[in-house]
Amino acid sequence: MPRTNALQNVSVSYNGTSLQSHLNTSSWNAVTEVIETTTFASSAMEQAAGAASFSIEVGGDWSKTLDDILRPDTISPPDTLRTLVFYLGPVSSRVTYTWTGSTTVGAFISNYTVSADNPMNKITWSGTLTISGAPVVS
């Protein structure tokens, strides 16, 4: 089976603007809630699948361009959630997750950190995109 490089094959678009050129790390998390269903009749712990939830951890080199995209929403979180598009893989074998922004579906930035650890180095940023609702997968 072919392997896929991360370069040029991962992207996040937030509120209609691609963050790809501002990212050097991302972590997509799809977590399913666990519903405990163990009873006295059980011979082992039993669980059922609950609701799914999604989030994406992102980070990279900080710039004014990046900050202009995210800063307003980090200080004044939006009432209408933002459209978020996340894709993995090359065009020929790509999976794309799309949350179209509304009052119940979409994303917001639940954590945003700008850090200058070393005066001889660069400013970096990291963030968490918390996602509400289910994506359209294409």
Partner: protein, 241 residues
């Protein structure tokens, strides 16, 4: 393109502690509020209000008035709150600034390693603002400042902060104002607010209404002073924050 960390400036009220600071971290946190309902197939969330902090690391340089450690320590556990600003890139005007209004030092940690310099970490909490620099440096004469371009027009006002850190001579009612326009040439500028000062310190200004995308500071009167050194930070609702 990456931004160098050594272009930053840390301002606390009237003080510029850039030369005694070597690290900073700005953090905003928004708690996700669960909002799923009986028809939800996946978890749903709404954002709560933002919580912000600025953590900086500085060198211990002494305990005289005006020394970084003393001034930060004085802003811990006090009702006299501070304005704390991180100018991220002082290489040009119009660069981002993060500012805490009513900031106070929530923690101070002094590191005392055997084989290193004395340094300390301090964290400020407060109400966050994000804006651009319209002024960062010395003004020796009246007149127009550099035109800065905002990403868009603001329609719901904002706030400006003038942090005056030095005055040469005596200033009495020195005055600056901020103006905006729809064209970079500033042919028909609109005055959106005036700040008057006679001493070093922090001066906030509430701004109402429309803020057009081309903005600048205008020094109207030095108030008799030879010059003053200050930073002016413009924060526009829905545009820079």
């Amino acid at each position: 393109m990456a931004t160098r960390a050594n272009r930053g400036r840390l301002l606390i009220d009237r003080y510029d502690f850039s030369l005694d600071t070597f690290a900073a971290t700005w953090t905003t946190t928004v708690e996700p509020l669960e909002s799923a309902n009986w028809q939800s197939t996946t978890m749903q969330y709404q954002p709560d209000a933002v919580d912000a902090s600025l953590t900086m690391t500085g060198y211990y340089t002494g305990y005289d008035a005006g020394d970084i450690y003393r001034e930060i320590y004085a802003r811990r556990n006090t009702d006299t709150t501070a304005y704390v600003a991180w100018l991220l890139d002082t290489s040009a005007l119009g660069q981002p600034v993060y500012l805490l209004q009513t900031g106070w030092a929530s923690s101070i940690t002094v590191d005392t390693p055997v084989q290193s310099l004395l340094r300390f970490d301090a964290t400020f909490d407060g109400v966050p603002y994000g804006g651009y620099t319209l002024l960062d440096g010395q003004r020796t004469a009246t007149g127009n400042g550099t035109v800065v371009t905002l990403p868009a027009t603001g329609t719901s006002g904002g706030r400006a902060f003038l942090l005056v850190r030095a005055i040469t001579g005596a200033a009495t009612n020195a005055e600056v104002h901020i103006e905006c326009d729809t064209v970079v040439g500033m042919t028909t500028p609109t005055d959106i607010g005036t700040i008057t000062f006679s001493a070093v310190g922090a001066y906030p200004l509430a701004i109402a209404g429309t803020v057009e995308p081309y903005v600048r500071i205008v020094v109207d009167d030095l108030g008799g002073a030879t010059n003053f050194t200050a930073a002016l930070i413009l924060c526009v609702n829905g545009v820079t924050m």
